[in-house]
């Protein structure tokens, strides 16, 4: 059992390393860090620009592989991901922003998964009934709508609601109200308030995808012989489905969870931008715009570590759900 998880962890670790290295090389080849300084007034001298670039370790005159090696040795020896164009340690920026993103991502994906499972199972049990059709159409609609549209629509609805009640019921700009004074509860409540809309946006998209997969997994299980056995023991249809069906239908979903987590990450980038959250997604976009190679490589590494964790977690969940893979 532990060997199984360790093996998968090693696999994911290798994938993470490859993803990060490729991201560094790709960013180095496609981004032009010198561009930042070209349009400046006064124009810095080429020597100054070169020395800045050298300081950042992104001088295009040095071969990519050599730069990669230096970056990698720094990472291994000092745990440093290099310096951003604003002269901050990339790791510091990531630590500052990770909490913001993770709060959104973890809550969003958990709610999304739970909703997806519930709606998927519901749809399968009520196959072709009105409620199943409704769930299906709803998930297709959400799935086909770009995340930012959902975000904006929610904002409009929230504004309408705020206007209707005359209070600022729902806040959706930033992750907290700047300058708000009060005790812990007030501040905590404020953060929760700001979380509502972005979380709904993320969970809706996630749930739409989940529910489709969960529905088909559950449909396979519905006709299984062991459900019939459970019924023949005297279980009612519902408890047989819940006790003997859902758990088995969840097994394939744990694998899907790992991949959808990665997809959720991209969704989160858009959500962060729409709701002006200063999280990792925003940082990635920002870094690309700033031609910040170290920033890009760092944020890709962050993302791939998340996938690594989600992947390993899904293996643990898989083994917990299915005794047949435990060795």
């Amino acid at each position: 059992m532990i060997g199984f998880v360790v093996k998968r962890f090693v696999n994911y670790f290798i994938l993470t390393a490859i993803a990060t290295l490729l991201a560094y090389v790709l960013a180095s080849l496609s981004l032009n860090p010198a561009q930042r300084y070209l349009g400046r007034n006064p124009q810095p001298s080429p020597e100054v620009v070169t020395s800045i670039l050298n300081g950042l370790g992104v001088n295009p005159d040095i071969p990519v592989l050599e730069r990669l090696w230096i970056w990698l040795s720094n990472l291994v020896t000092h745990g440093s991901l290099g310096i951003t164009v604003d002269n901050q340690q990339v790791t510091d920026v990531i630590f500052a922003r990770a909490g913001v993103s993770l709060r959104l991502l973890i809550i969003g994906s958990i709610i999304g998964a739970v909703l997806g499972v519930v709606f998927g199972v519901w749809g399968a049990v009520k196959q072709y009934r009105v409620s199943d059709q409704l769930v299906s159409y709803a998930s297709f609609t959400v799935g086909a709508t770009p995340t930012f549209v959902i975000g904006v629509v929610l904002m409009i609805l929230a504004t309408g609601l705020n206007g209707l009640t005359g209070h600022q019921l729902i806040n959706f700009s930033g992750e907290y109200t700047a300058g708000l004074q009060g005790n812990f509860l007030v501040l905590f409540g404020d953060r929760i308030n700001h979380l509502i809309l972005p979380t709904i946006t993320l969970s809706l998209t996630a749930a739409a995808g989940y529910s489709r997969y969960q529905r088909s997994a559950m449909l396979d299980v519905l006709s299984a012989d062991y459900i019939r056995t459970a019924r023949s023991k005297g279980m009612s249809r519902n408890s047989a489905l819940v006790k003997h069906g859902v758990r088995i239908a969840l097994i394939p979903m744990s694998t899907y969870f790992a991949y959808s987590f990665a997809l959720l990450l991209t969704g989160a980038t858009v959500v962060e931008l729409v709701f002006s959250w200063h999280g990792m997604g925003e940082y990635l976009v920002h870094s690309v715009q700033q031609n910040d190679i170290n920033g890009v490589a760092g944020s890709v590494m962050f993302a791939s570590i998340l996938v690594l964790i989600a992947g390993t977690l899904s293996e643990v969940v898989y083994a917990a759900l299915d005794p047949r893979v435990r060795v």
Binding site: G3, V6, R228, T229, A230, S232, R247, I248, P323
Partner: protein, 704 residues
């Protein structure tokens, strides 16, 4: 509904039947897609009675029992009445039925592999059934009772096994666990739907014993649904035969087996290959069961019935008995002619005359295939990151045999004994791990790539499942012609050859453009045979060619194989677990156990005087479709399952299950433990047993 009657035909002293099914009909779909799966079935089961319901696939036997349990999908429309202890089940709500299911009526399903939930322990699944119906029972109490039940159904070390998951159980053990679930709440009625179909004969015999025990312990009535007449012959009190959604004959087991009154039952009984007679031809039941979607008026069996008269096609006959045997009922307008002896049963389905006698055309009996010490071991790996070998699966462990031209070699044994691996090694035509394979006198290890391709024309294979082994998206012509394409035969020659082959296997060449799903199971297996024969092979490897077919269809395919052998001088390697079929078709038999041949000889010798205790047990496990014989004979039962082929057993590897070993005195056992028996000749057969001459087993069995 007739009065409840006992088997003997006398009026019973007012016994209330446990189950009374009256005019039950089940329909699926609507309009043009309407399928009448069950059409007016009435039967009853008395307390403690054992009723066998027999029928081919699609006869409605399972659907009718699922209707009793109330487990059919909601799309099924059910009419008629089902009364359990006087209570009408069809009027019960699902919640009320849930109170009855598992408590008063329980069910055992066919495939124990899929019938248990894979993620819960076996003990948990048994305890669940107990807890559902006894709210006062504690979890510990239920778990303890589950262990008791596992012990009752003969699972060794039940405390430990209760903690195991279904995938850690063998097929036989899973079915035992299913029986434990079924008897958990002392039900009044147990419905067993093909409980032994997925199991080996030896395990089937064990499970039938356990079912009888379960019946005695609980005093429950049993309804056993099966397609195998042999399974019900020894156990059932009464038999009901189903055909096309209706009961066509019911009666006491002796009446139905010894004096069947419905031509279908006669045909079924006569089409079964018997262990007793080997060489006479089987009686095929031509045609196929009608489609239940569009039934023509009249008797549904009429198109296949040799006794059909015009009146048969007008109206469907009702189930009726005769004056002297009111309980023995048949749905046939000519049944009185049959019972009165005006029509003798052997004339209804006459045995077809053999096509040819004597040696097959163009054969001289010289060796076409020989194996010498064939070995195929698979390494067993363990470890997540670094694999290391922790054992060896000895799938084939030194197998030798010879096959003469025009001869048939039967390869028998339980599943997991290495039969399939052996034939796969032969078909691969490559150098084996150890040993030698010679085809037509040529060692296949020496073949060049081109010669190997050429040799593939000479050795072809027919697979077990004709549904799965034929590409459903190719028309039959392409399916049959495919081997020719591989060998580069021109399109024109292919067409001629395909037509010729279809004619040969008894298919209309006009049907070549149709797709496989338009054919019945038996026809599809004929397509499989045509595909194998299209390259004019000398050797045909038949991997369980009839085990997926219904009994009535099976006989036709076996007869065809025998005819083809005579016409074309083919040699067969016939792999099967059905010993009666092997006895019927094989000249020589090799019995395999754990990768080795334990007995080898001519079919007649091996089947009439089996020398190895394993062969004796195998043969004795085969149910005989004759209730009188079946009740009196004593079986050599094997304990437990086939050991894992990874185990390294010193001495004789059959020792752990050997019934003879149990009887031997200690000093003789020593030899079994220390010395691995090799094949030696005893009375013309080769046997791998130190005490093959020992008749202790046969004597004890006879005495018991």
């Amino acid at each position: 509904m007739t009065e409840p009657l006992t088997i003997t035909g006398k009026r019973a002293p007012a016994v209330t039947p446990v189950l009374e099914v009256d005019n039950l009909s089940v329909t699926f779909g609507r309009g043009a897609n309407e399928v009448k799966a069950v059409r007016g079935v009435s039967y009853h089961v008395n307390p403690g009675e054992f009723l066998g319901i027999v029928g081919e696939s699609g006869s409605g036997k399972s659907v009718s029992s699922m209707a009793v349990m109330g487990l059919l999908p909601s799309s099924a429309r059910i009419r008629g009445s089902v009364r359990f202890q006087g209570r009408s089940l069809l009027e019960c709500s699902d919640a009320e039925l849930s109170g009855i299911r598992g408590k008063d009526i329980s069910m055992i399903f066919q495939d124990p592999l899929s019938a248990l939930t894979p993620v819960y322990t076996v003990g948990h699944q048994i305890a669940e059934g107990l807890l559902l119906h006894d709210k006062k029972l504690s979890r510990q109490g239920a778990a303890a009772r589950a262990v008791e039940l596992l012990k009752l159904v003969g699972i060794p070390s039940p405390e430990r096994r209760a903690e195991a998951f279904p995938h850690e159980f063998s097929g036989g053990m899973r079915q035992r666990a299913m029986i434990a679930i079924a008897i958990a709440n002392d039900p009044q009625l147990i419905i067993a739907d093909e409980p032994t179909t997925a199991l080996d004969v030896t395990i089937q015999a064990q499970i039938l014993e356990v079912m009888q025990e379960a019946k005695e312990i609980t005093g429950a009535a049993v309804v056993l649904i099966t397609h195998d007449l042999g399974v019900v012959a020894g156990n059932a009190d009464r038999i009901a035969v189903m055909y096309a959604g209706r009961l066509v004959e019911t009666g006491g087991v002796d009446e139905v087996f010894h004096a069947p009154a419905m031509p279908y039952t006669i045909g079924l009984l006569r089409s079964m290959p018997s262990m007793a007679s080997s060489q006479s031809r089987l009686v095929p039941l031509e045609g196929r069961p009608p489609s239940l979607a569009a039934l023509p008026p009249g008797c549904p069996f009429a198109p296949r019935c040799p006794l059909v008269i015009d009146a048969c096609r007008e109206a469907e006959p009702a189930l009726s008995g005769t004056e002297e045997h009111p309980t023995h009922q048949a749905a046939c307008i000519r049944s009185s002619e049959i019972t009165s002896g005006k029509l003798t049963r052997s004339e209804v389905f006459p045995r077809p005359a053999p096509v040819l006698e004597g040696a097959p055309a163009g054969t001289d009996g010289r060796e076409v295939l020989s194996l010498k010490g064939l070995v195929r071991h698979f390494p067993l790996l363990k470890g997540a990151v670094f694999k290391r070998q922790i054992g060896t699966v000895r799938a084939v462990d030194g197998v030798s045999f010879e096959l003469g031209s025009g001869q048939t070699l039967g390869l028998v044994g339980e599943s997991g004994c290495g039969k399939s691996t052996t034939i796969m090694e032969i078909l691969e035509l490559a150098k084996p791990q150890q040993g030698q394979i010679r085809v037509n006198g040529v060692d296949v290890a020496d073949l060049s790539k081109r010669d190997r391709l050429k040799m593939r024309r000479d050795i072809q294979v027919v697979f077990q499942d004709p549904m799965a082994s034929i590409d459903p998206r190719l028309p039959v012509h392409d399916v049959i012609a495919e081997p020719l394409t591989v060998h580069g035969v021109s399109k024109k020659d292919q067409q001629r050859k395909v037509a010729e082959m279809m004619e040969l296997v008894g298919l209309d060449p006009e049907m070549a453009s149709r797709y496989p799903h338009e054919f019945s199971g038996g026809q599809r297996q004929r397509i499989g045979i045509a595909r194998a024969l299209v390259t004019d092979p000398k050797i045909l490897v038949l991997d369980e060619p009839v085990s997926a077919l219904d009994v009535s269809i099976q006989a036709g395919v076996i007869n065809l194989l025998k005819d083809l052998q005579l016409q074309l001088g083919l040699s067969y390697v016939f792999v099967a677990h059905d010993l009666a079929v092997v006895h019927h078709i094989a000249d020589h038999v090799a019995v395999m156990y754990l990768g080795r041949i334990v007995e080898y000889g001519t079919s007649d010798d091996v089947f009439s005087r089996p020398r190895h205790p394993y062969t004796q047990a195998l043969i004795s496990a085969v149910p005989i479709p004759d209730p009188a014989l079946e009740r009196t004979r004593v079986r050599v039962l094997l304990d437990g399952d086939l050991p894992s082929p990874t185990d390294d057993i010193p001495g004789c590897n059959f020792r752990s299950r050997c019934p003879l070993y149990q009887l031997l005195p200690e000093e003789q056992r020593l030899r079994c433990r220390d010395e691995d028996p090799s094949l030696r000749t005893v009375d013309d057969t080769s046997v791998a047993c130190h005490y093959a001459e020992h008749d202790a087993l046969i004597d004890t069995v006879a005495k018991r």
